[in-house]
Amino acid sequence: MSAVVDEHDHHADDHHDHGPAKGLLRWVITTNHKDIGTLYLLFALAMFFVGGTMAMVIRAELFEPGLQFVDPAFFNSMTTMHALVMVFGAVMPAFVGLANWQIPLMIGAADMALPRMNNMSFWMLVAGVLLLASTLFMEGGAPNGGWTLYPPLVLQPITVGKALPFAIFSVHLLGISSIMGAINIIATIFNMRAPSMKMMDMPLFVWTWLITAFLLIAVMPVFAGAVTMLLTDKFFHTSFFNAAGGGDPVLYEHIFWFFGHPEVYIMILPTFGVASTIIPVFARKPLFGYASMVWATASIAFLSFIVWAHHMFTVGMPIAGELYFMYATMIIAVPTGVKVFNWTATMWKGAMTFETPMLFSIAFVVLFTMGGFTGLMMSIAPADFQYHDTYFIVAHFHYTLVPASVFILMAAGYFWMPKWTGNMYNEKIGQLHFWLSVISVNILFFPQHFLGLAGMPRRIPDYAVQFADWNMISSIGGFIFGASQLLFLYIVIDTIRGGTGEKVTDEVWEDAAKHSLEWTLPTPLPYHTWTTPPTVVPTEHVLDSH
């Protein structure tokens, strides 16, 4: 099978070095997986700074007790919007961007299976985020009832103003975007693989994305349904979440978290995939336990559907429900433990070097494990009654998202940017970025465990004075972390514009071509790749399980 890349063309081979169109319009109408991947990644980076600015507002307000800078409603808008922007605007799109770039390269496909839909997924994302961002400028401000949009709070005029329908339609658009992206990824992986690549030869990044894509299709419509009921309850007199009409606000929480729990794995499974790709390259060993990694990922995905109510232990569930969700949640620690063990075993006795992507990956293994353990603490229902809705949960999920997902996204940037651009990033600044980030992220989030255990509630702009010291330390960490990320922005721009000027080899990292297909292609990557699929696929990464 070969591929035709242009409708006026007859043969792929005549057209091998066909480049991108000129001008800005190229980016609007592109169907090229690399262009769309770049769009996704740059958009995600922009949103990372938008969401980050909101976090800075939050940390500035919490620097000292009392109300300093913003009024409480705006503060609540910031916590709500920070979450929505980071989840739907930054982390998820960044991983879709990586999928767009890497999946076709890694499986030997000429492009994504459905290139026009690929373009539409991206622009739907932009449309959704714009709709959401527009609420910041509305009468009554952006939604401020928390990103979970719980009724009845979110249906009160004071918490939504005019923003609610915009936020809901934004969720619909983001859902459409995610579902189309996920369908594309599934079709690409199943249908576009090089004929010589079997499922159990696929790089783990491809495997984790396949499973993530399934999660996306299975849960985004759930969220869409939940917010649709919010909309009709607010504007069309339905009673889904109104007890007087026979409904139940707790039902919303069940539906939301049936979406929400798989959603957090949507953000972490591709993280696992990237970590499993980077660690073997710098440990110069095959990945330990490839098959067990695949099965662990699938198990985590399955379990993610049957544990949702651990987010609502304090809502007043029957005791049998509390117990079931407690034990089911604890089981997730088993496949997750398999993964952490495998990464560690991959590094064991490896000939390790510590370039920036590896540093971020090692920090991920350590800090994600900490985030996982606090999750295990909260899975214990009676203990959760104390931790619930305190800064302990804030510390927990930020440990699983910032030094895990975000760190791995940074690692992926350092790891693949030289391949994509043909330019080497500045290793010194990269390592400075790493050390500043890894130290400040702990100053930022570790004290929040103490605050939570001492009883400081989340989502409040003011607090009792006994929480003052740790909040100030946390804020200082936050400001350093925020400022450090400007280094990453600098590195991205600098690398695109030429980097260190060093000549980058085809495989970039020593022996990387033994691990995955993309390193066998020329550097910088041509606009079209794998118009003829590869006949031999690397198997270093699966050596251990064959």
């Binding site: 099978m1 070969s2 591929a3 035709v4 409708e7 007859h10 043969h11 792929a12 609007v28 109408i29 592109t30 169907t31 000429a110 492009d111 299976a113 459905l114 290139p115 026009r116 839909m117 373009n119 539409m120 622009w123 739907m124 932009v126 449309a127 959704g128 714009l130 709709l131 527009s134 005019k162 339609f169 658009l173 579902i179 996920a182 369908i183 594309n184 599934i186 079709a187 249908n191 299709i217 849960v219 985004m220 419509p221 869409a224 009709t232 504007f235 007199h237 339905t238 009673s239 889904f240 109104n242 007890a243 007087a244 009409g245 026979g246 409904g247 139940d248 039902l251 069940h254 539906i255």
Partner: protein, 284 residues
């Protein structure tokens, strides 16, 4: 037109996706403005919908043209089938949310309202029986919808349409163009008839039975489930109409008729959802 039947077709650029996105976001922004009581809402909504419909026509015309000129090889067809299959899966999940809501309401939240402290302290006179509009009698007195009138006729209509759709498919495979067109025509007519009957049913509910979307949780689940389904029947019937139109123009061969298959899958999906509705919303 590509002469290389072995090649996976990758379009070079696409304008319709951006146009469609602009249309959809304009329509939704208009709808949101309308809900907030802004006068610009309906206009914005109409403009957005017009753009969106233009996109649908333009994009699908392009696809049909490309397909008929033989640009899609076997693998492209497989990608499209994957796409349609997983799209339908996402739709099933969407309906599952509302079926789940119905289940939760009937088996958990309504019984909870009629027992224990809730009953003693808040609503002592509330009896937890289905159908209900809740202890607050939201929406006033109403009569629930029976199963054996129009809904049963509609069940027969949809099941028959599933058969005619399959009959048309057999015609297509046997290169019997007349059977294909007749079968599709019957399917489309039955589909639109279903929608008409449902409109009559809704009219009766509103004008004679006091049953509205606002009739507590019974009205909410009844109208949202049947309403979303009815909307999907409309969409399915429109898709089938397009397939009928293309069949009349001589499109599709026994080897290459993805559009027909996709429309048929969608139609069967709508059919199965209705069976679920008939059992869980109307019968029990």
């Amino acid at each position: 037109m590509s002469t290389n039947t072995n090649a996976y077709y990758i379009p070079h650029k696409a304008t319709w996706p951006v146009i469609g996105t602009i249309g959809l976001v304009t329509a939704l922004a208009g709808f949101a403005n309308f809900l907030n009581g802004s006068s610009i809402g309906p206009t914005l909504m109409m403009i957005g919908l017009l753009i969106f419909i233009t996109m649908l026509i333009g994009w699908f015309t392009l696809q049909a043209k490309e397909s008929e000129s033989g640009m899609y090889n076997h693998e492209v067809g497989i990608s499209y089938r994957h796409g349609m299959m997983w799209f339908i899966f996402s739709e099933i999940v969407f309906f599952a949310v509302f079926f789940g809501t119905l289940w939760y309401t009937r088996n958990l939240s309504v019984p909870w309202l009629g027992e224990g402290a809730t009953k003693e302290l808040l609503w002592p006179s509330f009896e937890a029986v289905w159908p209900t509009n809740g202890p607050g009698k939201v929406g006033g007195e109403f009569e629930p919808m029976g199963a054996w009138g129009l809904p049963f006729i509609n069940t027969l209509l949809l099941l028959t349409s599933g058969v005619t759709c399959t009959w048309a498919h057999h015609g297509l495979l046997a290169k019997n163009r007349e059977q294909l067109i007749k079968g599709l025509l019957a399917t489309v007519v039955l589909g639109f008839l279903f929608v008409c009957f449902q409109a009559i049913e809704y009219h009766e509910a509103y004008s004679e039975m006091g049953l509205t979307l606002g009739s507590g949780v019974y009205g909410s689940t009844f109208f949202m489930l049947t309403g979303f389904h009815g909307f999907h029947v409309c969409v399915g019937a429109i898709i089938l109409s397009v397939v009928l139109f293309r069949s009349a123009k001589g499109h599709f061969t026994p080897e290459n008729h993805f559009a027909f298959e996709a429309a048929a899958w969608y139609w069967h999906f709508v059919d199965v959802v209705w069976l679920g509705l008939f059992i869980f919303v109307y019968l029990i």
